[in-house]
Assembly symmetry: C2
Homo-oligomer: 337 residues x 2
DNA sequence: CTGCAAATTGACAGCGCTGTCAACTGTGTC
DNA sequence: GACACAGTTGACAGCGCTGTCAATTTGCAG
């Protein structure tokens, strides 16, 4: 037979309601009572039944992590974030569910509604690019579901975690400049993603600061995928004046660029320097190992979830935490010859 | 105000219990009534509250996917399986949760117990290598929690999904033999994983069938990680008579082997052929693209979950479904020179 | 048309917990 | 010593659904 809250109450010599208070870490319980109840719980190995807690208390102890599975089929980046979110939820005995949410089409708000109505998450963790679809955020606020974001575009009124991606991108390009590169290309990510905008802005900032006029031919559109990196590289290498270095907006695209370089018999980094962004495991497994910006994805997932939990547990308003990045110089970049 | 089952019942002119029966797809409801109730549900956009269903019905509608996070930090393989499991659960309106379960130490059975007691999953999907820890399976059976496995070692009494990995490995090695290789090395995975055993067995089978005596120096231990592939390759390439081809038990290790080849200035596939197993996205992003065995991981996750759901929904006993593999010949293998 | 078994439907209690609100306890004040 | 007041505890109902079992309807043989 399962141990119920009532059983714990009897053992501790208090009313069920008092045990409930202890369980939920509520105020107004004397230290002595709290200690007695906690001991009884331990002794009996009491496990609250979450369905009963949910039904009576009208909360689900559930955090849903939403991601866009249009452009992100099982990506490493998301897997790492998920790992961090899960760790944070575990620590506070919250459950976590992952929900793909196709952002294609215009009924994604309905799909969000369905997720909320079906699962009643107490809160939501938003991952890029879902962090910035205005109608979706609006609906979340209307339905009064707290949420935290990983790398949202707007810092105003958002809680979660962010990184100064523009500065990171600028740092990367400044590094390339310091190696002596002047014709530096940039492969952009999907146009309306915040990550694409920041990384492009950082690139432009560094180039401008070095007094270099922007050559539009050196900035090509990508889509964060390996294949788009391949396409972008083909375009860049076909230029009359090809770049001596390529800064791709993420590692997958950078690996596409390197792939094309190999295909053409160009040596990296002797003939062309290539660098990426994110530092997914792939970056170290490529030959030569990829110079990139390290983004602590797992930690970022954890921190975003912790901010959300802060709110859910009524501990405070939560904030937008800034995470550090680092430039990982490896073997795919060198001075031009 | 939320629409409750009672509201639907009133609208359809039946008792709440009858609506419940329709909701749960039970027998003994006349077609006419069923139709009327279903219509009422639709019209009112009724969403059953899962906490109430769980509490009253003593089931959770929850499937937990267990994985070992010792050796698998956010691996692509698991992410793909997860994706498939999620799809299957969604289709039957079950929730899914992912649970890392460190297999190190000997209290993993307790940790399993905690998962069951805390979350009460109706069923569990086991992923390698958790599929084969006898004490864990025993506990699962004792506690009467149905489970399905992805690639279990033992096919007896297990439901889920499997692939003939030994045949796949043999096929790969036969392909290398057909290219003219004779000194073929194998980098093993973690010793007690089923995948390691089968892939090694397939390697041996093919070598023996070709009349080649096994050279123990050509079979080296790995651990399914990139780093272990690097270590294994250093060992192999240092041999007096190094291999002309290396078959690694998975793609990550194969990429480590290629990395060392590059480091030493050896050309793949001219100087050394390398191949892997799994066909994770990395395989196509390496240069040269990796010859490997394609394993339909996502589909396998889905099929395993479907077998479990078959059981959970009282539809049958479930079975062990065999999935096909395919040899993906790419550019990392060629005849020796 | 009657009688009987099978199929269909409903009444009711209760799953294990928490919200509400009332009751009680102890402390400090004048 | 009486009173006010904050701090602590408990009684009770009820969250929305399903299990049990009894009541009713239907189908069909005689």
């Amino acid at each position: 037979m399962r141990v119920r809250l009532e059983d714990v109450a009897r053992r501790a010599g208090v009313s069920p309601k008092t045990v409930s208070r202890v369980l939920n870490d509520e105020a107004n319980v004397s230290d002595a009572t709290r200690k007695r109840v906690t001991a009884a719980m331990e002794e009996m190995d009491y496990r609250p039944l979450s369905s009963a807690r949910s039904l009576a208390g009208n909360r689900s102890f559930l955090v849903a992590m939403l991601y866009d599975n249009n452009d992100n089929p099982a990506s490493t980046y998301l897997a790492e974030i998920q790992d961090g979110v899960l760790e944070a939820c575990d620590a506070h005995r919250y459950n976590m569910m992952v929900r793909p949410l196709r952002m294609r089409g215009d009924d994604f708000v309905n799909r969000l509604d369905a997720v909320i109505s079906d699962h009643h998450p107490d809160g939501i963790v938003l991952t890029p690019p879902i962090t910035d679809y205005a109608p979706l955020l609006k609906r979340l606020r209307e339905r009064n579901v707290p949420f935290a974001s990983v790398s949202p575009v707007s810092r105003e009124g958002n809680i979660g975690v962010a990184m100064d991606e523009q500065l990171a991108a600028r740092t990367m390009v400044e590094y390339l400049l310091s190696l002596g590169h002047r014709r530096i290309a940039h492969v952009m990510g999907i146009a309306d993603h915040g990550a694409s905008r920041w990384r492009l802005a950082g690139y432009r900032e560094a180039m401008a600061a070095a007094g270099l006029a922007e050559d539009p031919a050196l900035v090509v559109q990508g889509a964060f995928t390996f294949a788009s990196g391949v396409a972008a590289a083909r375009q860049l290498f076909a230029l009359k004046e090809p770049p001596t270095a390529v800064f791709a907006a993420n590692d997958d695209m950078a690996s596409g660029v390197m792939w094309v370089a190999n295909e053409r018999g160009m040596k990296v980094p002797q003939d062309i320097s290539v660098c990426g962004f994110d530092d997914i495991p792939l970056a170290s497994q490529l030959w030569p190992a990829l110079t990139t910006i390290r983004q602590p994805s797992r930690e970022m997932g954890k921190v975003a979830a912790l901010q959300l939990l802060e709110v859910l547990r009524g501990r405070g308003p939560g904030r937008l935490v800034e995470m550090p990045f680092s430039l990982e110089v490896r073997d795919s970049t060198a001075s031009p010859r």
